[in-house]
Subunit: 121 residues, 2 copies
């Protein structure tokens, strides 16, 4: 688990929201709709990405591990290390559903889906 | 340091931003302007509160430890356990200054000011 001792990289939530997201091929797939925060633990639970019509999932929103977002200046977008198929098949739901039961269920499912390193114990 | 094992409490960043903040006496002192996130460590660094004209600090923004925000339904506001004097004398600056040097300087100063428990090591 990473800690924040010397290595911090401050960014404003309001600037993250609305930023474009590209898949591993660099193709634009959607944008950050929101960020889910954990009031109990001081942790960022996950980013919420809307793929819009591009991947054909309509109104559904997808959680993405925060650490997977890598900002690339040239693209003015976050590039994630996942292919279109992996993104398409990721857990998704209406945005209010993602935070139900305190968000832990979706958090766990999405970290499993992407085999992402867990920030919690 | 709290961990997110079983105790999560998911909240959308976009809903936190704009929420009113009250001091320990329950008096309205300002609102959440933004939340500063740490891209390196998955941690919420601090909330940014604007006191507007109420405390007479004009354009300055104040960091507040995330854990200090306690939402009170009756007030539709976050109530912080600090008095007006403590809030007035807290570190403050323009919002872009708060994130300079990756935010660590302001984060450390504000946790010291409020004697808040550090979430990092």
């Amino acid at each position: 688990m990473p800690t924040a001792t010397g290595h911090t990289a401050a960014i404003r939530a309001s600037k993250v929201i609305g930023t474009k997201v590209c898949d591993a091929s660099g193709d634009h797939v959607g944008k950050i709709e929101d960020i889910i925060l954990d009031k109990q633990s001081n942790a960022i639970m996950f980013a919420v990405v809307g793929f819009g019509g591009v991947l054909g999932v309509g109104e559904k929103y997808h959680p993405l591990p925060w650490a997977a977002l890598d900002y690339v200046d040239d693209k003015k977008a976050y590039v994630v290390p996942y292919g279109e198929d992996q993104l398409k098949s990721a857990p998704s739901d209406k945005i209010d559903e993602l935070t139900k039961n305190d968000g832990a269920a979706f958090r766990d499912r999405v970290y499993d889906h992407y085999k992402a390193e867990r920030y919690w114990i």
